[in-house]
């Protein structure tokens, strides 16, 4: 495992987050085993991931159709997957990539269960609107 390599770049700990990541990347660029193509800086990936995650979270909070809410949740999970892949590259470890496999499997199982529940609700209530599902309050 090339696990330790990325970590070596982290000398002291009181440098700001952004600087530290940059150093980790420059360190990697010299590392033959990790390829030497053009690299998109890790911040870009993490930013994109954070933006996607936020869009997903806002979708859950703002949308009213339960299927759309569920789609937003899936977006959140996939945003996290993007983070994992980018960070796995940064650390030069396989862990992050393996995690993505597990998250994908979990998301698929979640989709199966979730859609079944939504379908069941629709059969009995003829609606999937979150606002109309208010049998229980307080």
């Amino acid at each position: 495992m090339a696990d330790g390599k990325g970590r070596m770049a982290y000398g002291s700990d009181d440098t700001p987050e952004s600087e530290r990541s940059e150093r980790a990347i420059s360190h990697q660029a010299n590392d033959e085993s990790l390829g030497n193509g053009i690299m998109v800086p890790i911040h870009y990936h993490l930013m994109l991931s954070a933006v996607l995650f936020t869009i997903g979270a806002l979708g859950v909070l703002l949308r009213r159709n339960t299927i759309v809410i569920f789609m937003s949740v899936e977006l959140m999970l996939n945003a996290v997957n993007l983070s994992f892949v980018a960070l796995a590259r940064q650390w030069g470890s396989m862990d992050g990539q393996l995690i993505v496999f597990f998250v994908m499997a979990v998301a698929a199982a979640e989709a199966a269960v979730g859609l079944a529940i939504i379908l069941m609700v629709f059969r009995n209530r003829e609606t999937v609107n979150a606002d109309e599902l208010n049998l229980m309050r307080w």
Binding site: D3, G6, R7, Y10, D13, E17, L46, S49, F53, G56, A57, V60, T66, I69, F70, V73, M76, L77, A79, V80, S83, F84, L87, Q90, W91, S93, D95, G96, L98, I99, F102, V103, V106, A109, E110, V113, G114, A116, I117, I118, M120, V121, N124, R125, A130, L133, L135, M136, W138
Partner: protein, 515 residues
Amino acid sequence: MILPEVNWAAVMPSVILTVVGITVLCWELWMKEQDRKYLAWLSLAGVAGAALFSYTLWGRNESAFNGMLALDAYALFFNLIICLATGMTVLMSRHYVENNELPAGEYYALLLFAAVGMMLMAAATDLIVIFLGLETMSMAVYVLTGIRRQNVKANEAALKYFLLGAFASGFFLYGVALVYGVTGSVKLGEVATYISTHFSDGAGSPMLLAGMVLLIVGFGFKVAAAPFHAWAPDVYEGAPTTITAFMAVGVKAAAFASFVRVFLLSFGALHGQWEAILWALAVLTMIVGNLTALVQDNIKRMLAYSSIAHAGYLLVAMVAGGELGGAALMYYLVAYGLMNLGAFAIVVAVGKKGEPNEEFNDYAGLGFRYPGLAMMMTIFMLSLTGIPPLVGFTGKFYVFSAAVKAGYIWLAVIGVLNSVVSAYYYIRVVVTMYMQEGEKQVEPLSTRPALATAIVAATVGTIMVGVLPAKPMALARHSFASLQKPAQTASSTPKKDQAATSTPTATAPSKTPHH
């Protein structure tokens, strides 16, 4: 060969439950209608087998699967709590499933699969295994919540639980990603090492702290801590009562197991950062839970808010930390499990098919017509309030004294005040049973021996563990201490050495936390 380091003992209880679960699922397809009851007995046997196996493993302190799982007294203690919760739920369900015409095979199989997820969570020392355990548990419980497919309340409960649960999983996972990003590992031990070497001042970095907060959100949701508790009352009300009991005890125990393991083990060096957050969460959870429980008219909903309040007490123990706080938390989970399972079992007993009888009014006059049932319900309610000598009192005593010893005087004061408030709604049940007139008929317990067994067992446990707290508490202390001991890997240490190192502890469990 790059064989992973396999340690079957660590997963054996889960494997037993998985195999039994799959057998139950498949057996139902070929069995005759009237043989369905054997499914309950088979599940119970599986749970007993898993508990027994966990018991025989006692005293071992190893890590398994390349440090993804731990086989320590802490995990085994929680295995026993989980087996207690699952076993009692099976007993309660035996007639409930039949009377409500639930699909028995799926029901018991999902129950066992959920228990597997819980055990994984309790034993996991790797954030990803925790996530997998969490999802295994949650997915099974989502389905169980909505297993009464024609019931609109159950539908709604399942949908709410599922959507909010998946939402919280997203937060949890993002927290894992950020922690991985900073420390380069998802193994709790390596995260701890990284944090203690790089952030020895206890300040952390923004990314690490953000990850930690997201993990708190994820766990906070699963243990139903305010302000992440909004799902709990609806879900507890809509789910079948047996499953409500299972959720209130099992899910909470498993979530706390890994909550504590992650925060005390991995983020121990950042204690100063998260204790303030958990302090606030604990206070908010206690207050919200208790105040809202006051105005409920539905017993299940009242017990739901009460379980939120109890999550608050458990958080107090967690904030107190240290060996005392940790042991108090584990003891309290046993106490909470016993009295809550008992209370829900009574709710199951009072309910009938098509007539849930979950309102306070339905309990009126129960004390005269069914003195035994009412007396046991009284014991559970008094114990939940924290009246000595019952187990609820001892549990609260340990929790609050741990908080005081750790210097959190105010937390303890707020907790005690909340307990006083909680007396109102618990005693209200007793008052309704003994001082109001009512006509409700209850199907005699003699026709439901399994349920009766569960209720009596919970009663005996509530009294015994409360009167004789020393043994269980010593057990909890020993289990919690194993959390901080560095675990040996199974392959690197010969078996003999382990036996030698664990001799002082091997004699300790003369009595398991459940009976």
